[in-house]
């Protein structure tokens, strides 16, 4: 589904991604993990076609992400780290606005999703008056308006309380069970453990580890880590 080959990104002289190779299967939920400055956001932006790699290739469902951006974007929903919506408008107005831009979206489909995600009752509130959790939900729902096969989320639960985080993680799990491929970056190990089936672990632009949750746990038993968070920490070093 997603293939990266020799993917490198440089900002000036600084190499932020170093010759990365990986293949993500369809329907996988992949946690993108690493300390700050590891290159997580840059990698996600390149996969989402927002940014181009300096060298190497990325293919999304057989499409060259650099050369066939428009077609590739139809397959991807990208959720930025910021709550990128119009805060002065209501949630409904935002959904309608992005729905019109996405063209493929129908009000019926996003209304159903809003009901499933318990956002329907808040649709007529201005975004600035919504709770942090509901703002984050809206941020994700907007990325899904065109019903993409792949969802790329860059720290989508930053700054919200635990119960809202749980809700979002459960909602995303439901999406995973619907067959969506999800790339999810976060610093919350518990969240990652609950949601993800495999992990891409980065450090200083290098791909340290790519494998299933099972493999991470195996690594943990070798290092006798107490929990998942500690294991991830051990891998990053």
């Amino acid at each position: 589904m997603i293939t990266a080959e020799n993917l490198t990104k440089k900002f000036g002289r600084k190499e932020v991604l170093k010759e990365m190779d990986f293949f993500i299967e369809k329907g996988e939920t992949v946690g993108v993990v690493g300390p700050n400055g590891a290159g997580k956001s840059t990698l996600l932006k390149i996969l989402a076609t927002i940014m181009n790699g300096t060298s190497g290739t990325v293919h999304i469902d057989g499409l060259d992400a650099k050369k066939e951006k428009k077609k590739t974007r139809e397959k991807i929903g990208y959720v930025p780290q910021e709550i990128a919506v119009y805060h002065e408008l209501t949630a409904r107005e935002n959904l309608r606005f992005f729905g019109k831009l996405a063209r493929k979206s129908s009000e019926e489909s996003w209304m159903r999703r809003c009901e499933e995600w318990r956002l329907a009752e808040h649709l007529d509130k201005k975004v600035k008056h919504l709770s942090g959790g509901n703002q984050r939900k809206l941020n994700i729902l907007i990325a899904m308006l065109h019903d993409p096969d792949i969802l790329i989320l860059d720290e989508p639960t930053v700054g919200i309380d635990i119960s809202a985080k749980h809700e979002i993680v459960n909602d995303l799990r439901q999406l995973g069970s619907e067959g969506k491929t999800i790339l999810y970056s976060s610093h919350d190990a518990q969240e990652l453990e609950t949601l993800c089936s495999s992990f891409l672990i980065l450090k200083e632009g290098e791909l340290l580890f790519y494998g299933s949750k099972q493999k991470v746990r195996q690594f943990g038993s070798v290092t006798q880590s107490k929990n998942f968070a500690e294991t991830l920490g051990e891998i990053v070093g």
């Binding site: 930025p80 119009y86 002065e88 831009l101």
Partner: protein, 387 residues
């Protein structure tokens, strides 16, 4: 797609009630200021009160002619009102034209014909006394001339009553015409001053409506075009182009939204200016203003690309609006400035739009539109590259 973005931008700009007020207030404020300036100009004139007991053609002529002097503000009233105004120093000087004023002038009985009251606190009555005396003298001289002609000419020719009246009138008018100054040359108003200014100079008051309108149009263009900075902070500058499938649609769509609002503001300005007689309307003026607004939209958009913080944008807005308005000769002719500043004025849009009003030409608006297209292209490419 572009239209959806434009409509959403308008919605965003008009979200709060303040935004709606923001559309109307500048127009009303400018209208109010414009009227205040006229009133202030009136307040700087010497207040004169005249009591017309004669209510004749001559007394009315004197009042009318004195009123035309830019240095005086004439009010008429009864003797009691006039005395009251003088005592309370609301008038600097008062005149009473008694019954028989016209008749006495025609008979050349000028001695102690007019009663004059002076307010104790003023020193400006000398000028008004001169003006008033010269107007009375003018009528008296005309009558004296007409009487002399009739006495000399009429006796020798033995004219009937009707012919006598015609000769008297001719002589009177001939004499009166000599009081009207005939300029040896005509004065063309300087480029850089508005028509309103030229008209206002005649009446002694300076209208600030057109200059104020140009400044406010520029100010609102910059205020409304702060969206690229806000969108960058909120992540929308990346997200909307991503959703719409291209940066140019996002950029131009938002610019179009702001432009529609600017044009709405322009319509209000033009409507109010036309209603209050502050703006002489013609096709060239309207096209000129539309070109000016388009140029401001494109210019502020390009500036917004370079600025990254809301506070910096406020400073840029203030600087551009103030500097260009002061330099451009909008409020005073640019040729009163030093040569360097005079040439700098030619780099401001206000200078050119005012020139366009004077010349009633279409080439300046067309140049505005041409430059706007280039600026739109530049900002779209530059901002698209960095998005």
């Amino acid at each position: 797609m572009v239209w959806t973005i434009a409509i959403t931008r308008i919605k965003l700009l008009l979200q709060s009630p303040w935004s709606w007020i923001g559309l109307v207030i500048p127009v009303l404020l400018l209208g109010f200021l414009s009227m205040s300036v006229e009133k202030t100009a009136d307040a700087t004139k010497i207040p004169v009160v005249i009591v017309d007991e004669d209510q004749s053609q001559y007394s009315k002529t004197v009042i009318e002619r004195v009123s035309k002097y830019p240095a005086v503000a004439v009010r008429t009233g009864t003797e009691e009102e006039a005395r009251n105004k003088i005592e309370t120093q609301k008038a600097a000087i008062g005149f009473l034209l008694p019954k028989g004023f016209m008749e006495n002038i025609q008979k050349n009985n000028e001695d102690e014909l007019v009663t004059m009251w002076l307010s104790t606190g003023t020193i400006s009555h000398g000028l008004v006394r001169e003006i008033f005396a010269s107007e009375v003298k003018r009528l008296s001289s005309n009558s004296y001339g007409a009487n002399t002609v009739l006495n000399t000419y009429g006796k020798s020719k033995k004219l009937d009553e009707q012919e006598q009246a015609a000769v008297w009138k001719d002589a009177w008018e001939y004499s009166d015409n000599h009081w009207e100054p005939k300029p040896l040359m005509t004065v063309d108003y300087k480029v850089g001053a508005t028509k309103e200014r030229a008209q206002a100079e005649e009446s002694g008051a300076v209208s600030i409506y057109v200059p104020g309108m140009l400044v406010l149009l520029m100010l609102f263009s910059f205020l409304w075009n702060s969206w690229p900075i806000k969108d960058r902070d909120s992540g929308m500058r990346a997200r909307v182009p991503y959703s719409v499938g291209g940066f140019s649609k996002y950029w131009i769509g938002n610019a179009l939204g702001v432009l529609i609002l600017q044009l709405q503001l322009l319509v209000l300005f033009i409507g109010f200016g036309w209603w209050k007689d502050e703006l002489a309307l013609s096709a060239a003026t309207i096209i000129g203003l539309v070109g000016y607004v388009l140029f401001l939209n494109a210019l502020s958009l390009l500036f917004a690309y370079f600025v990254h913080a809301a506070r910096t944008w406020q400073a840029v807005t203030l600087f551009v609006v103030l500097a260009s308005s002061l330099l451009s000769g909008t409020f005073f002719p640019s040729d009163e400035l030093s040569q360097f500043l005079e040439s700098a004025a030619q780099w401001t849009p206000q200078y050119w739009i005012i020139s366009s009003f004077h010349q009633q030409t279409l080439w300046i608006p067309l140049v505005f539109i041409g430059i706007s297209i280039i600026l739109y292209g530049l900002s779209t490419i530059k901002a698209g590259d960095s998005a």
